[in-house]
């Protein structure tokens, strides 16, 4: 194992910062979902890296749970995007002004 723990943590921080940039700047709903995926993946990378260096297996178990929950979250998020697109005929989040059904 030539790579140290801090290298993985630094890559994870870079991915987190890019995700937060995308979440705060982009106005396209699907691009915001991309940014959320990047943030979740940086958290997963941290979990697996610390689990390798401690070492125990619970970090990997938690990462598997997190990946499954993220899959459910993306399914619901894309369904919401489709509903909003049908309602407003646009995917720009500045247009999503009312929560009325």
């Amino acid at each position: 194992m030539t790579n140290a723990l801090i290298d993985f943590v630094l890559v994870s921080v870079a991915l987190l910062a890019i995700g937060i940039y995308g979440l705060s700047v982009k106005r396209n709903a699907i691009r915001m979902l991309f940014a959320v995926e990047m943030i979740v993946n940086s958290a997963n990378l941290n979990l697996v890296a610390f689990a390798r260096f401690i070492p125990n297996s619970q970090g990997q178990t938690l990462a598997l749970f997190s990946i499954a929950i993220a899959a459910a979250e993306v399914a619901v998020g894309l369904a919401l995007v489709i509903v909003a697109y049908r309602m407003y005929n646009n995917i720009d989040i500045a247009d999503f002004r009312s929560l009325k059904g």
């Binding site: 801090i6 921080v13 995926e37 993946n41 997963n44 899959a71 720009d92």
Partner: protein, 170 residues
């Protein structure tokens, strides 16, 4: 010291993450996201976690990225290439990103993580399966219920209410 595989993987991951957010077409953006997720799977392989890497490949690259690609294709053509952005907000976002990278990066480099290296053997992935079926089995059942309810909720949300089926029996 890092090796060349690690460097190549990190360049691939960070570069395709930036491409996924900045390229004009959403279709190429989702392909960039797919590359980012594959890069993370490569990191998992480097960390001796092959089970998590395969799970990542099958769940993220196999299902989530394809789902996003199909959703992008459902959207109107001019919206895919549409890119409205406030330029002041964009500069503020880039500043926030650089501040976060530098701030958290210096904190982490200054902390005690730097000296943390390991030469012990990696965890056997059979242990993960045993954990799932013994200690974590209630959590596994709850996660299955969450997944089922999320999928049913997504189907119920995306249903069209203005179309009624003609073949209904009653």
């Amino acid at each position: 010291m890092v090796d060349s595989i690690f460097l190549a993987l990190s360049v691939l991951t960070i570069g395709s993450a930036i491409v996924a957010l900045e390229i004009r077409s959403l279709i190429y953006g989702s392909i960039g996201l797919m590359l980012t997720l594959s890069g993370i799977a490569g990191f998992f392989l480097l960390l001796d976690a092959p089970f998590v890497a395969m799970f990542q490949l099958s769940v993220y690259v196999g299902s989530i990225a394809v789902l996003i690609l199909f959703t992008v294709m459902l959207v109107r053509r001019e919206l895919i290439f549409n890119k409205i952005e406030d330029s002041r907000r964009r500069y503020a976002g880039i500043g926030l990103m650089i501040i976060m990278m530098l701030g958290i990066g210096t904190i982490i480099i200054g902390s005690g993580l730097k000296s943390m290296e390991t030469d012990t053997a990696s965890v056997d992935y059979k242990k993960i399966g045993e954990d799932f079926l013994t200690y974590y089995s209630p959590a596994l059942i709850v996660m299955a219920l969450i997944l089922a309810s999320a999928v049913i909720g997504a189907l119920a949300l995306a249903r069209r209410e203005d179309v009624t089926s003609d073949q209904r029996a009653d």
